[in-house]
């Protein structure tokens, strides 16, 4: 089946999915921290919109709450915090030179295909859109991990971590119209605490190695140099 047979809600969901995936790709290739954070905020925004849309179309009140939570956490609080860090460390000028960027992008694309491939066997059981949404969610998760693997800045790691959360959220919202309320709240709480802890850690890391480059943190190894 193809797009014009779907109702407006489905179409929007699909385009949202496309946009979310696109933002992940942007982040993956992004060398400048501030832009990275900005794109991350955009992704959060998209997520909020999706949630709101789902809440509206399924008139499911508790999704509104999670939409608001997402907005507060992922669009406002975390980006702001990260931005502050970057400015404090005066890292907003330097660009992280990613080694073989093209390879990373290619592998990201192949990851997307891969996630479709592994979710394929489920298709016959349920409608395609949900599967696509799940696939997008999964690929966002994987792309987030790839982001963490490819970037060296602790801040980039945080962004990657959070974008993994986004991917999960997206999948949860679209595929299963959100988790039960208690779980939503719990997850949101965890994310909040995590964000605060990240803030604390930046402080500690700076004080210990006065840089946020994670490659410098390799005291605890067992390889004989």
């Amino acid at each position: 089946m193809n797009a014009q047979h779907l109702d407006f809600y489905m179409q929007t969901i699909l385009s949202m999915a496309a946009l979310v995936a696109f933002t992940s790709f942007l982040m993956l290739g992004q060398g400048r921290l501030l832009r990275l954070i900005f794109v991350f905020a955009i992704q959060g925004l998209l997520l909020t919109l999706t949630t709101g849309l789902a809440a509206y179309s399924l008139d499911n009140p508790h999704l509104y709450i999670s939409a608001v939570l997402t907005l507060l956490l992922k669009v406002l609080f975390i980006p702001a915090m990260l931005r502050r860090e970057v400015l404090k460390m005066a890292m907003h000028r330097d660009v992280e030179a990613l080694k073989n960027k093209t390879l990373i992008m290619l592998s990201g694309a192949s990851l997307m295909i891969f996630s479709y491939y592994i979710l394929h066997p489920i298709v016959q059981t349920s409608n395609a859109v949900m599967i696509n949404a799940l696939a997008v969610g999964l690929s966002v998760v994987l792309l987030g991990m790839l982001l963490m693997i490819s970037h060296r800045q602790a801040i980039a790691h945080v962004v990657g971590f959070m974008s993994i959360e986004n991917g999960l959220f997206f999948a949860a919202i679209v595929a299963t119209h959100g988790m039960p309320m208690v779980v939503e709240l719990g997850v949101a709480f965890d994310v909040l605490v995590a964000a605060i802890l990240f803030g604390i850690f930046f402080l500690h890391i700076r004080t210990s190695i006065d840089s946020l480059d994670v490659d410098l943190m390799n005291r605890l190894h067992e390889v004989e140099k």
């Binding site: 059981t125 299963t176 995590a194 850690f201 067992e222």
Partner: protein, 487 residues
């Protein structure tokens, strides 16, 4: 059921209380008291479960069955004994100025936070909430790992945080998938409750469940320290304060395993294929062998024993992977004895490193001649963990071997090899530590060895004879997990 609320509330109270006045001198005693009370409560809970069987709270939020009840008791017990140990330990750390009052506050309050998370993981009926609590446990402990604020500690904490965070996120994805599979079945509401899921297990879509299990295994496996997801574990164990290492090894790993096994039960119910079993066996064996080899390369005493924890988790995973009543029974028993023994060992290790003023093994020498209690405690504990009878670890390992011999005879060879290698790895390091003459300027310290004594005595008892009520729990749990009756 009130007991559950009581315990949770008590822990919550502990968090707040210690956060406010956690730096007093008597705080250690209060901590012990709190844990002691909750331990008694859990015993009461256990007795009720023993009487009336499985308990389900009215709002279906909490589920106490024979599988998790003894884990709850174990958790409370280890929590209590460790708090007994941590009182003088932390006082000493404070005295020598490694910790200031504020961090002491943080420590005690987070200790309670960790206990809360553990209780929640075990008691909840909602696998989403379980996930939340598991993440909560990470968040609670991550600051304790970096408590000493040394570069190593911060590095370890960061790795712990990131790796476990990412891992646990995958677990959440698995949960979402499960939920998705559940909501496919029409006419089913609040589909994240274990009870509901178990009812409809056979209707769930096997494909989705297999995928979900992969995510869950990797997610919770990261917390369990399955190779190759284990890398954070030795760092976190070796850099944090020793009581933390004790509870991490003794409790957190168990609870992660608990989560995996619960999910395995579900998946086995849905897909009647051995995929899950094979995955767990593969992971278990890999973990077991790798950790056994890595034991030989250690220089830091706490790192050494954290690797031995990894090794034992590998063995348990393998046992549960084999499935079948005997192996499952062995797995349950091993969970118990391992957490008892390992926490006891960490207690002695903590004292030993305080005694020598370092965790570097080549600088700790002649413990027996310096302070016999600690030396013998460490030695006997190591003998127990290395799987020598009449200690309980031997019993479970023996049963695992027998079960393996029955189902997959050729797998016994790597298993035995691993046991031998692991034993050598442990003793080549421990022997010079405990034996030999006392080095200059190494003086006895004030130590509280009762926890060690109690734990080892319990392990010994379990090795000689398994009390009937415990045997009943185990056999019911075995029935629950493997679907076969043992006794």
């Amino acid at each position: 059921m009130i007991a559950v609320y009581f315990i949770l509330f008590l822990a919550l109270l502990g968090i707040v209380y210690f956060a406010l006045i956690g730096h007093r001198t008597d705080v250690g005693k209060i901590n012990t008291a709190l844990n002691g009370i909750s331990f008694l409560a859990t015993v009461w809970l256990a007795v009720t479960v023993l009487k009336h069987g499985t308990l389900l709270s009215e709002n279906k939020a909490f589920l106490i069955d024979s599988f998790n009840v003894y884990l709850i008791v174990l958790t409370a017990f280890v929590g209590m004994t460790t708090s007994i140990f941590s009182a003088p330990y932390m006082a000493h750390e404070n005295a020598i100025g490694r910790l200031n009052d504020q961090r002491l506050r943080l420590y005690y309050s987070m200790y309670q936070g960790f206990m809360l998370a553990m209780y929640l993981v075990l008691t909840t009926n909602n696998m989403g909430v379980m996930w939340v609590a598991m993440e909560g446990a990470t968040l609670a402990t991550v600051l304790l790992v970096s408590l000493y604020r040394t570069p190593e500690a911060i590095e370890a904490a960061w790795k712990y945080f990131i790796l476990c965070g990412v891992g646990i996120a995958q677990a959440l994805f698995g949960t979402v998938l499960l939920y998705y599979a559940a909501v496919q079945i029409n006419g089913i509401d609040n589909a994240l409750l274990w009870t509901v899921l178990y009812e409809h297990a056979d209707k769930l879509n096997p494909h989705i469940l297999e995928l979900a299990f992969v995510f869950l295994l990797i997610g919770y496996g990261t917390k369990m320290g399955l190779v190759p997801l284990h890398n954070w574990l030795p760092d976190a164990h070796s850099e944090g304060p020793t009581p933390m290492s004790a509870v991490l090894s003794g409790l957190l790993l168990n609870d992660a395993l608990y989560a995996v096994v619960r999910n395995k039960m579900l998946v086995d119910g849905a897909t009647h294929a051995p995929t899950a079993s094979y995955l767990m066996m593969g992971f278990g064996m890999l973990t077991f062998l790798t950790a056994a080899l890595l034991l030989h390369r250690q220089k830091d005493i706490k790192r050494l024993f954290s690797y031995s924890s990894i090794e034992h988790m590998g063995m348990m995973t393998f046992a549960f992977g084999i499935g079948g009543s005997l192996a499952t029974f062995a797995g349950l028993l091993h969970m118990t004895v391992h957490s008892l023994t390992k926490s006891a060992i960490f207690v002695t290790v903590g004292h030993a490193s305080q005694l020598a003023g370092t965790q570097k093994m080549e600088q700790i020498r002649g413990l027996i001649k310096t302070q016999p209690v600690i030396g013998w405690g460490l030695l006997i504990g190591t003998v127990a963990i290395a799987g020598f009878p009449p200690f309980g670890v031997f019993t479970s390992e023996f049963l695992v071997l027998m079960a393996t011999m029955h189902s997959y005879p050729w797998l016994t060879l790597p298993l035995l090899l691993g046991i031998g290698v692991a034993f050598a790895g442990l003793f080549r390091h421990i022997q010079p530590i405990v034996y030999g003459n006392k080095p200059e300027g190494q003086e006895p310290i004030k130590a509280n060895l009762w926890p060690v004594l109690i734990h080892l005595a319990l392990v010994l008892w379990l090795g000689l004879a398994i009390p009937s009520f415990l045997a009943d729990w185990f056999s019911q749990a075995t029935l629950l997990i493997s679907g076969e009756k043992l006794l």
